[in-house]
Structures are given as C-alpha cells and as structure tokens.
Symmetry: C2
C-alpha cells in the first residue's frame, strides 16, 4: 500500500514559520462569520474585530500549524493521491494564558499514528507552535483521513469518544454564514481550491465548493465561549472535533451544547437548512 506505516510513523515534518498581526486576527474572525447577521457595533462583534481591546478567537491556534496538513504530503513513505485526503478530526489546545494579537512563531510537527479505519487510513499529526525563541502557544493534533487506504490490517485506533448525551442539548447557538464565506475564510491560510473553484469541487464529488471544516470548527468554539464564558475567550483551553459532513457556504451552523461539568462542554454541530450533522464527538474544555 502507498502508506509505508513503519517509515511514516514518528517522521518529523520540516519546521514551519508563521507570523500574524492584528489584521490577521480580525480577518480570521470575519472568516468564521463574525458580524454576519449581528449588529456590527455590538460587543460580540467588536471584541474580535477592533484593535481597541482585540481578543483572539482561540481556535485561531490551528492556523499557524495548518501547513502541517499539506506538509504531510512530502513525508517519505506517504505516497497517496492528495484528492483522497479529508480533514477528519481536529484537536487544538491553547498552551498560553492569553493568545497574543501579534506573534512570530515556529511550528514543529510529527506523524503520531496511522490507523486502519477500513474504508481508509487515519493519519494523525501532532504539532507544537511556539513564539520564536519563546513560550509555547498551541498544541494541535490533526486527523487526516485518506480514503481508499484502509484494510492494511493495522490497529483501528481509539474510538472518537465525546458522544453527546441522548437528552436535548442544554444550549443552542446559531451562526449564519455568507454564500461567499469560504472565499473570506481561505485568506486565513487554507487555499485548497475545493473551497472556491467549482471544477475542483466537482472533482472532489461535490455539487459546489464547500465551506472549510475549520470554519465550522471555529464556530463550535465560538458557541461555547458565547454560551458558557460570557464571551471571554481566555477561559478556553482546548477543543476536539470530528468532521462528519461538509457545510455549504451560506448555510447556518447550529451549535448544540451539553454541559458535562463547569469546565467541559460536549458539542455537536448541524446545518440548519438541511438538519445534517456536520461536527460530532466534540468537546471543549474550559479553565
């Protein structure tokens, strides 16, 4: 098979530098849909979009590490068709007290697992982002699902966990997106043409360009901060999600939340217009 498990496991990716400034932080928030369907002068919008008191939406922590997801393609022993890759799971943890609104960082990443999921292989990558010569900022774990590469007889890995309770959600938040939301989100670093180019979307088996899973991911984080943290993003510690289906730009993301404890919220997300689940097995940990 084109994934050489023994060769790939433990492989270190090339170090990835990444810089951001206030403008990038604001652009990320707008990319998630902050401001859409909201009063633009409300505290909930200005907190994430105005230099006066600017706060970083903590899921931004995946952005500096994101190049790892494409970088894995150049790992020796990882010989697969890039069109068969899906972003399956994502874990992002904030390692610092408050995320700086500007930083020069470097990310190191390595392959931590290759699992046999039957229909495909799940490859996990761990990435640590630090301020250059300074403090740790983020830990990410990317779960890359490679369609058609399963059945090699390897371990299937741990179950996703974080199942939502059977009761009705304790809280629900809705976040509308714009029909051209993906064109804005991609400026935060994921330029995969699948999200803008109708021909690429068709090749991937989609009727039209799909919204980035990480855009939905950010809105799950937003939901918990809005609902359980009084809008204070510094209380956010980590998020884990599994992507179950794509959102189409223009749809409304419905974040369902179940309070497990004062510091643990189980989540799912679905699309309002189609009732379809798009994020499952999700958990946000607060501090």
């Amino acid at each position: 098979m084109p994934i050489d498990v023994q060769k790939v496991l433990g492989q270190q990716l090339a170090e990835m530098p990444f810089e951001w400034r206030e403008r990038d932080i604001i652009l990320y928030a707008l990319g998630l849909g902050v401001g859409v369907g909201e009063v633009p002068t409300s505290e909930g919008v200005l907190r994430y979009t105005y230099e006066g008191g600017l706060k970083v939406i903590p899921t931004y922590g995946v952005v500096p590490a994101f190049p790892a997801l494409t970088g894995v393609m150049s790992v020796p022993g990882f010989d697969i068709n890039p069109m068969m890759i899906l972003h399956g799971e994502q874990y992002t943890e904030v390692l610092c007290k408050e995320i700086p609104t500007r930083a020069d960082t470097v990310t190191t990443a390595r392959v931590t697992g290759v699992y046999d999921k039957g229909k495909g292989a799940l490859v996990t990558l761990e990435a640590i982002t630090k301020v250059k010569g300074g403090q740790d900022l983020f830990k990410n774990e990317f779960g890359v699902f490679v369609r058609g590469e399963g059945g090699f007889g390897g371990p299937s890995g741990p179950p996703p966990g974080n199942d939502a309770p059977s009761r009705e959600p304790d809280a629900v938040r809705e976040y509308p997106t714009m029909p051209h939301q993906a064109i804005l989100y991609r400026l935060s670093g994921d330029y995969n043409p699948l999200h803008i180019d109708p021909q690429f979307a068709a090749m991937g088996g989609f009727e039209r360009p799909i919204l980035h899973g990480l855009c939905t991911f950010g809105n799950v984080g937003r939901g918990v901060i809005d609902e359980y943290c009084g809008g204070d993003p510094t209380r956010f510690s980590s998020i884990k999600v599994r992507f179950s289906a794509p959102v189409m730009p223009g749809e409304t993301i419905v974040v369902q939340m179940w309070k497990e404890s004062d510091t643990a919220i189980l989540c799912e997300a679905k699309v309002k217009e189609r009732g379809l689940s798009v994020v499952k097995n999700a958990r946000v940990v607060l501090r």
Copy 2:
C-alpha cells in the same frame, strides 16, 4: 489660521513603502463588497478573488498611497484638528499596463494646493507610487477638506467639473454592501475608528459608523468595468470623484453612468435605501 499656506504648499511628505500580495488584492475586492448578493462561483466574483487568473480592481491604486492622507497631519504649517478632516475628492490613475498582483512599492507625495472653499479649506496632495527601483504604477490626487479652515482669502480653486448630463443615466449598476462591510474594508489600510467605533462616529456627528468613501469609490470603478469593459479591468485608466455624503454599511450603492465617449464615462452614485447622492462629479477614463 492654523494652515500656513506658504509653508505647506509644495511640502514633500516622508516616503511611504507598501507591499502587497495576492491575499491583499482579494481582501480589497471582498472589502468593496465583491461576492455580496452575487453567485460566489460566477466569473464576476472569481476574477477578483481567486488566485487562478486573479485580476486587480484598479481602484486598489489608492491603497498604497493612502498613508499620505494621514501623513499630511505631520506637514510643518498644517496645524489642524484631525476630527475636522474629510476626504473630499479623489483622483486615481493607473500608470502601468496591468497592475501586478504582488509588488513592493514606494510612494512619494507632496502638497499641491490649498484652496479657500468658504466653510473650509481644500488641501490637495499628489502621490506617485512606483515599484521599488522600477516602473511607475499609480498617480493619486487626494482632496482633503478641512472643516472650519476656510475664509482666509485664498483662491477657491477650479470647479470640480464632470457634471452629469440632465438626461436619465445610460446605465445603472447596483452593489449591495453588508452591515459589517466597513469592518472588512478597513483591513485594506484605513483604520480610522470612525468606520467601526460608535463613540468615534458620534464625535464625528454620525449616528453610527459610516462606510469608507473609498469603498464607494471602488464600487464606482467596478460599475464602469462591469458595464463598459466586459469585466476587463485592464481597460481602466483613471477615476475622479467628489464625495458628497457618507454611505451607511449595509446600504446598496447605485452607480449611475453616462457615456460621454467610448473612453469617458461620467458617473454619480447614490444610496438605494435613502435616494441620497454620495458621489458626484465623477468621471472614469478608459483605454
């Protein structure tokens, strides 16, 4: 009076470096409202937002020179209250064949006129933007209206010209904006809090933060390119406008056009919701 005409006239501003990349070009287009109320996969949207065949909206030419507008505040002899400044007029000319989607540039600017407009003074600045060590890209002329600084007995300057004919417009294009459009547009370099902060807007005498005049300006250019150039921005040579009233974010900009010749289009813009004129005495020259 706090503008020392003899001292200010001819003063050179400090040289201003400015770099842009494809991402900035796309962000500018989204800031104008490209994609709002449009099919996101249409040629008219992708042309300005997708790296595959990316075109620069020519009014982007004002962006690298924009710091001149605030730089004028530090010119010796120009001692006025910044809250009294309005962007009154704007001329932007493309000096190159096709605007590059990435460039490292430098802009030089100088004060070219101080006119007595009775209720205020009109100060004009000319700015030339070049590729560092290379070709000329843009010529801009900013008209800065300083409220309360007129009546000093100086020349009143040439009339704005470019009056629209009395007949109905030959063509009309409508460009909707989002209620949080100004939050997006400001990422192209005009961070004046007047466009995001309700308290600053109130100090400036506005009920809520207003849209950037230069956002409307860009949409006038877009109108002519869409209507008379078959969407080909390389046919655009120059634009001159006078700002007559502010647009509120979320309003629809109606661009009215009168064909003067194959290469000259007279324009006005108004707000659909209030019927108010926001741009007058405008002319776009094509090539």
